[in-house]
Amino acid sequence: MSTRLARGGRLIDRSKPITISFNGRRMPAFLGDTLASAVLANDQMMVGRSFKYHRPRGIMASGAEEPNALVGLGAGPRFEPNQRMTTTEAFDGAETASQNHWPSLEFDIGAINNKFSRFLPGGFYYKTFMWPRSFWKNVYEPFIRQSAGLGKVPTDRDADRYEQAYAYADVVVVGAGIAGLTAALGAARSGKRVIVLEMTPACGGRAVVDGFAIDGQPAEGWVAAAVDTLRGMDNVTLMTRTMATGLYDHGYLMAAQRIADHTPGDGRPKQRLWRIRTAEVITATGAIERPLSFAGNDIPGVMLAAAVRDYAVNYGISIGDRTVIVTNNDDAYRTALALLDAGLTVPAVIDARPTVTGALPQAVRDRGVRVLEGRGIAKVHGGKRVTGVEVCVQAGEGAMIEELGCDCVAMSGGWSPVVHLWSHCGGKLLWDEARAMFRPDANRPPLGADGRGMVRAVGAANGMLTPDEVLTDAHAAFGDGTAPQTNAPDEARMEPVWIMPQGAGPKLRAKMWLDPQNDVKVSDVQLAAREGYESVEHTKRYTTLGMATDQGKISNINGLAVLSDALHQQIPATGTTTFRPPYTPLTLGTIAAEARGEIFQPLRRTPIHEWHEAHGVEWEPVGLWRRPFCYKRAGETTHAAVNREVRNTRTNLGLLDASTLGKILVKGPDAGKFLDMLYTGVMSTLPVGKCRYGLMCNEQGFLSDDGVVVRLSEDSWLCHTTSGGADRIHGWMEDWLQCEWWDWKVYTANLTEQFAQIAVVGPNARKVLEKLGGMDVSKATLPFMTFAEGQLGGFNARVFRISFSGELSYEIAVPASEGRAFWEKLIEAGQEFGVMPYGTECLHILRAEKGFIMIGDETDGTVIPQDLNMAWAISKKKPDYLGKRGQERSFLASPDRWKLVGLETLDGSVLPEGAYAVAPGVNANGQRNVQGRVTSTYFSPTLNRGIAMGLVKHGPDRMGEVLDFPGDGGKVHQARIVDQVFYDKEGAKNDA
């Protein structure tokens, strides 16, 4: 059984007991424990089940590479699935629950998959789920749904808050083991701004566990002194609990800092995402121990050797009373020594190397432990827990020599440098044959903005595995003088062992796990190779090797080696899969941070926004603006409110908040010339005080925006744009002025937010303005399509006699700060004239009744003005304007283009939005041919019937023809082609 030892545990505080729960069972633990050490202290070795076969899974590792130990943590609004127990700090009251099993962890029905495992080999999903079609619904989908996904999705809104912060540095050192600390000290002493990021709460990495001396003092003391020195320097920031998750272009490093993960609800942000810009990154990210591939290596109790040592030294945990160690290197002997020091039994060290002579093995032999040279494990006995191992000759086929009883197997297949950050941004790896590892190729680093390397790897992350190698390498990054020295013994080289024993037959290979979470075995990778999957990227996806939540941290290299062997090629010829950020998963809350709820994105409010809110508004989002869709009265439906607003505006008086309309001032000696290029029509000849409707096209000739242009003075024009187009059109103007016609003397300013604009619309429009008093707004003084500046009811006003409704209409701009007051004044003065505010839906209906186009409805980026019968708005005389050459392209002159017409249903109903008119016959894909489509469709309260506009092939020549528009449920809507102007065809009303 696994239990807490009476003594030891450098990271736990035995004076601070806490209680956690696992699947409802309360477990005593100490402050400083991880969730993993806490449950191991309580003999909870099995913590989950694997993805495919639902096999029992125990804790394998002690850090971020852990593939199995994922739990749901917390409850309600603080529930988070897939928390890695080995990196999650335990806290009092932590509730955890295991995942991926049903009905219980101990008894799981899905484990039946295990019995059929020979029918579920690599590529099973691809081979099986192809046919027959009917199986999808009844067989495959239920199977996938039952097994898909790890953990449960939280159902409540997250109770926590998250932050993001920016930081800038000359050097970021990732990892505060002895390599990182040495490099950081060197960089700091040379005066650089240094940020040190350490993923765990404490610094020191492996050295403090392995316990050698550095420069004559114990590693622990040396580390504490280095940390103190760094913390005392003004140019250094050292952050623990901070995971560097990804490195991106030009030294952009992301790091997630855990702040209140272990103190939930204390008011601090749960996590903070750092966005760091740095000139250089030093990766001192260490190495990850490799498992060995022997049959039964996935049984709970089989762990990485260094993890067994970590649990003993850091947390005072005994994984088992009897631990068999199996290795191909000297480092694993440190685990034997640590266990012996803790008073535990090591029945033997099984070493795959034929002769073992190093100092560490000798120290173990001296303690009376047998070292079995040239031996391997043929198979592990046990189900939910290891009970023993069969020893065999590594060079053989697995015949048992002896059986060893044990309750823990500590395995070490050597170490792989953590090269993720190095690789994220293009750093290349080399295969170091002597060390049997991929490590960073210093000649091909990730490049920064200046084209020079921006990352250096030091220490174990650079493939240096012995303490003196590590320190020498790290010191060389910045230091001069001599590197720190240790008293660690020399280590003999590890010898690569990719499967154990070397000659294992199919039966054993089918029980050798490479990826314990996804259940990928040696036999699956070999099968993939036989089936022609030669690319490592293809094999990964075919077998799902390395696609589990640990992203192949421990399975990658063994899988590559097995694949290479099966393909009869060297490992570097196979290569690695791509290392992509993030290194460990980021919770979505950290990525979103403050950008949620009301501040998910900025909200633009017109000066009259609050008034709308207080008067029954139903909002419509328009870009970042909110515009009133309509104003509902008590008990009124949206539809009824819209119809009321339309009828009232046509018969009495309506007010529209048009403040969102784009208002761009274009000024200067060349402004007229510029606008003649921008618009299809002529604006330079517009007399001062006059308004003219204009169209803008892109260089392909397609309609881009429209609006009324006003000549304010001799050298200035005001260009109205659509509400959504203001910023885009302003940018478009600046593009041409800055990049093409930079010698033209033109100045533009986007005044959209400087003015509130109110449309005063309806037969009573003039009456209400005359009641306000001030400037002359009579037809004689201010006729249709003119502009004047003056005072209205004491407000400074720009008055435009323009109409988007077909009614008598004044659009009045006042300074934004006075918009609300002016609006309220109009509401008050308008009472006797039947004033009502109206929203965007009413605006749309009013314009559709008049046959006016709307950018985005009648246009979609493929429509030219000529399609909309708007050739009248295009100057024939101008030699050039933006889009003119594009419109000259032959296909745009085709008489077969769809053109704008009005559409009237035969039964008065409303055509469905976007419906297509069908034509006889079918196209090459067997679909009905089409000859037109609906662009705008509304119920017109004025005409008491549905009205629509649409683009129809040869439309204007086909007046009176009836088209079929298939709709939902087999219904076919029939509509007649009519003139697009449904109301006041003579235009008498807006000129009243």
């Binding site: 810009r277 903005a449 600046e734 800055q738 990049c739 093409e740 930079w742 050459r885």
Partner: protein, 107 residues
Amino acid sequence: MLILECPCCGVKAEETELAPGGEAHLKRYGPGSSDEDFDNYMFARANPKGVHFERWRHAYGCGKWFLAARCTATLEVFGTYPAQTTEPPAELQAYIKSRRPEWEGYK
């Protein structure tokens, strides 16, 4: 995420402050131009793996357009310069040549 120095305001701008504008130094072809010239102006882009001249706007900054010379393969930035020019400055071209001797040069 790129950093480009805006030659107008001098800010070392994060990519999120910038709006991309595609290939630089395109010659505009208007009315009267051949179909082939117009087609090239409108649609044909060099899209090289290597030295590339491109347009950027300091959209969430000073608002100015500027041009950048950049390696699309390594993301090395050779330099940025004002948009009011029809070809890259001579000293920038020389610098690019020093960094990329195999570069065929600006035509």
